[in-house]
C-alpha cells in the first residue's frame, strides 16, 4: 500500500507535486453553472460546497467532439492524441467507476480504440470519496459506493484536518511515491475508511437489483414505460451529462477529398439515433427510446459485462428539463 497525507488547507503541496511529476492538473471550481473541472493554476483549491461537477469526467477521455481522422486526397490518417499526462483531481467515485465501465466497450470486446485508450492511459483520476452525498445520489443502489475504488488511481479520505491519499492503481502509487507526502498509518486509514462505510450504510439501496433486474426485461411491454416517458422531450440531456453514456455519431466535414471525420456524443433518446435509410425506425417513440436507455443501463449492459452501466450519480435526474427520474422509472416498471 502506498499512502500519504496532507493538511486540508495545504492540498497545493500534493497538486504541485503532481505538476512536478509532469501532469497537467485539473480540479473542480465554481463555474457559470455548478462546478467544472478547470486547469489548476496553483494555490489552494476551495472545495467548500463541492458535490459533483455539472459535466462528468468522461469528456477528458471521450471528448464531446473529436476529429479522429483526417483525409487528404482520399488518404485517411488517424489523428494522434496529445501525449500530455492529465491528472483530474476531485473526481467522484461514481465518475471513476463509469470510466471503468466504458473501458469495457472501447477495449475489452476485442476492438481497441487507440485514441480513447491513449487518453485513458494518460489520465490519472484522483478520486474524492463522498462524505455527504446529494439527495439525487444513489450509487449504493447500482453497485458503487461513496468510497468505491473502481476506476480510481488515487482515493482521498477526509480525516479531521487531514486528507489521506491512498494509491489504488500502479500509476496512482507511483505518483504518491514521487509526491513524498507525510506518512499515514494503517490505523488512521482504516479509521477514516470506517467513517465512509457508515456513509454507505446510510444510503439505503432503492432496490435489490439482483432480485428485480429480470422484471425490467419481463416488463418490456408494460404500460409503465409510456407513463415514465410521457414527459420525455427526447432532448438527450440525460445522456450528455451521464458519465457512462458512451454512444457516438460520426460525420465527415469537408468534401472534395480533404477534411476531417468527426465523432461526437450521440443520444439514444433522440429519434435519428436508429433511423434507417429506408425510413424505418425500430425505436420511433420516445417511450421506446427511454426504455432503451434504462434497459441498457440496468439490463443489457449487465447481460454482456456483469455490471450495471448506471453509476447512480444522479446527474440525469438533475439535468432533465421535464423531471424524468430514472430511479422512479425503474421503481415503476418493476412494480410492487
Amino acid at each position: 500500500m502506498v499512502a500519504g497525507k496532507v493538511k486540508r488547507n495545504e492540498l497545493s503541496t500534493f497538486l504541485e507535486a503532481a505538476k512536478a511529476a509532469g501532469y497537467d492538473v485539473f480540479a473542480p471550481a465554481r463555474a457559470a453553472e455548478g462546478w467544472a473541472f478547470v486547469p489548476y493554476e496553483g494555490g489552494e483549491v476551495d472545495l467548500d460546497g463541492y458535490l459533483l461537477t455539472t459535466a462528468s469526467v468522461k469528456g477528458f477521455v471521450l471528448p464531446q467532439l473529436e476529429a479522429f481522422l483526417t483525409y487528404d486526397d482520399d488518404d485517411g490518417r488517424l489523428v494522434p492524441t496529445a501525449e500530455s499526462k492529465l491528472l483530474v483531481f476531485g473526481v467522484r467515485p461514481c465518475d471513476a467507476r463509469a470510466l471503468a465501465l466504458v473501458d469495457k466497450v472501447y477495449r475489452d470486446r476485442g476492438f481497441r480504440d487507440p485514441q480513447y485508450l491513449a487518453r485513458r492511459d494518460n489520465t490519472l483520476l484522483v478520486v474524492w470519496a463522498c462524505d455527504a452525498p446529494a439527495p439525487t445520489c444513489f450509487c449504493t443502489s447500482v453497485g458503487g459506493g461513496p468510497a468505491d475504488e473502481a476506476g480510481a488511481d488515487v482515493i482521498i479520505y477526509k480525516s479531521g484536518d487531514d486528507l489521506l491519499l491512498e494509491g489504488v492503481s500502479a500509476k496512482g502509487e507511483e505518483l504518491l511515491k514521487a509526491a513524498k507526502l507525510e506518512k499515514v498509518s494503517d490505523a488512521e486509514l482504516d479509521e477514516a475508511k470506517a467513517t465512509y462505510a457508515k456513509v454507505a450504510e446510510a444510503m439505503t439501496p432503492l432496490w435489490d437489483l439482483e432480485a428485480v433486474r429480470p422484471k425490467l426485461y419481463e416488463n418490456f411491454d408494460a404500460a409503465a414505460w409510456e407513463e415514465v416517458a410521457s414527459r420525455c422531450v427526447s432532448c438527450g440531456a440525460c445522456t450528455f451529462v451521464c458519465p457512462s453514456c458512451h454512444c457516438f455519431d460520426v460525420v465527415d466535414e469537408g468534401k472534395h477529398g480533404r477534411g476531417r471525420r468527426l465523432r461526437f456524443w450521440d443520444a439514444c433518446t433522440q429519434s435519428l439515433f436508429t433511423l434507417h435509410a429506408s425510413g424505418h425506425n425500430p425505436r420511433e417513440r420516445a417511450s421506446q427510446r427511454y426504455r432503451q436507455r434504462v434497459l441498457h443501463k440496468f439490463y443489457y449492459f449487465h447481460e454482456n459485462w456483469g455490471e450495471n452501466l448506471c453509476v447512480g450519480c444522479g446527474r440525469c435526474v438533475v439535468a432533465c428539463p421535464t423531471n424524468v427520474d430514472i430511479r422512479e422509472a425503474v421503481t415503476l416498471v418493476i412494480g410492487p
Binding site: F68, L69, Y71, D74, D75, G76, R77, L78, K104, V105, Y106, D108, R109, G110, F111, R112, D113, P114, Y217, F220, H246, C247, F248, D249, V250, V251, D252, G254, K255, H256, G257, G259, R261, R263, D266, C268, F273, T274, L275, H276, A277, S278, P282, R283, Q288, Q292, L295, H296, Y299, Y300, F301, E303, N304, W305
Partner: protein, 285 residues
C-alpha cells in the same frame, strides 16, 4: 463478451478504413438503382471473411455505410458489394463513382451465415428483392465447396424481371445440376417466361422440406412475415431458420451503441440470427 476479430488492423485501429480501389461497376437492375461494386485493396491485402459478413464502406467527405459482402471468399481477391441507392449521402455518392475511384473499407464485420450448422445439411436459401446479396455470397461459397453440403435449394423473388440481381448467374444456376433454383417475380413482362407469384406461395407450392435442412431467409419484412407461417406449416422449427438483420450503424464494432436489439449488437453479435434467438429478443428491429 470478447469477439473474434478478423485482422490486426481491425482490432487495433477499428475506425480507420483500409484504402481500396474500385475496379468495376455493374448496373444490376433495370432501374439502375442497384449497382455492384468490385473492389481491391491498394496494398494487395486480402480479407479472411465468410458469407454473411459485412463491411463499412467509406467515402471521405460523405461518410460510411454498412453493406453486406456479396462476393464469396472463394472467388478470388476482389470484394464485391451490391448497393441500393437509398438517396442517402453515401449510397448516392457511391452510385456516381467510376472505376479507379478510391473507397475505404473497414471489416470484415459481424458473424457469418451458420456454415458449421450447414455442413452436411440441405441449404435452403429464400431471398427477396435486394436482400439477396449476402445470399449470393453463400450460394457461391456452397458451390465452391459443394461436397461439404447436401442439397442446395434457392427461392429468389423480385417485384419484376428487371429487379432481379445477378441475372447472368441466375441463368447459369437455372441450368446447373448443382442446385435447384425457383425464380419468381411479382409481375412479369413480355420478356418473362418464368413464374409469377410471391415468395411465400412458392415456398408453399414447392413444399420445401425441413428434413436435415437449414433455411437462410432474407428479404423485405413483408416477405418474411408471410413466409414464416408457411414454413411453420411445413414443419420448420425456429432454430432451423436464419435471417440477417439490418440496423443503422456507425462504428460496426460495438462502440457507437445504436444497432442493439436488446443486449445483442447487430454489428458484432449479428447480423445473422436464428428465429429461435430472435424470439428471445425484443422486436426492436
Amino acid at each position: 463478451m470478447e469477439q473474434k476479430v478478423a485482422n490486426a488492423a481491425l482490432a487495433e485501429t477499428p475506425l480507420l478504413p483500409q484504402p481500396a480501389t474500385l475496379e468495376r461497376v455493374v448496373v444490376e437492375t433495370a432501374a439502375a438503382d442497384l449497382k455492384s461494386f468490385y473492389l481491391k485493396f491498394n496494398d494487395g491485402r486480402r480479407w479472411d471473411y465468410l458469407p454473411g459478413q459485412f463491411a463499412e464502406l467509406s467515402l471521405y467527405g460523405y461518410g460510411e455505410a454498412p453493406i453486406g459482402m456479396a462476393s464469396s471468399p472463394t472467388e478470388g481477391d476482389h470484394l464485391m458489394f451490391t448497393v441500393f441507392n437509398t438517396g442517402g449521402a453515401v449510397s448516392r455518392a457511391l452510385h456516381r463513382l467510376a472505376p479507379g475511384a478510391k473507397v475505404g473499407l473497414r471489416g470484415p464485420l459481424g458473424n457469418t451465415w451458420p456454415l458449421e450448422e450447414l455442413r452436411g445439411k440441405n441449404a435452403t436459401v429464400i431471398g427477396g428483392g435486394f436482400a439477396f446479396t449476402t445470399q449470393r455470397s453463400l450460394i457461391k461459397y456452397i458451390l465452391a465447396n459443394r461436397k461439404d453440403f447436401a442439397e442446395l435449394t434457392v427461392v429468389y423473388g423480385a417485384r419484376s424481371p428487371g429487379a432481379l440481381l445477378y441475372k447472368p448467374e441466375l441463368a447459369e444456376w437455372e441450368k446447373s445440376p448443382e442446385l435447384t433454383l425457383h425464380l419468381t417475380v411479382d409481375k412479369g413482362d413480355e420478356t418473362w417466361a418464368g413464374r409469377e407469384g410471391f415468395v411465400p406461395t412458392v415456398v408453399e407450392e414447392e413444399k420445401l422440406s425441413p428434413d436435415n435442412a437449414i433455411a437462410l431467409i432474407c428479404g423485405p419484412p413483408i416477405m418474411i412475415k408471410f413466409t414464416l407461417p408457411v414454413m411453420d406449416k411445413l414443419g420448420w422449427r425456429p432454430e432451423q431458420i436464419y435471417t440477417s438483420l439490418e440496423m443503422r450503424m456507425k462504428c460496426g464494432v460495438g462502440m457507437c451503441g445504436r444497432c442493439n436489439v436488446g443486449p445483442k449488437y447487430v454489428c458484432v453479435d449479428g447480423p445473422v440470427f436464428s428465429f429461435a434467438e430472435l424470439s428471445k429478443l425484443p422486436p426492436e428491429y
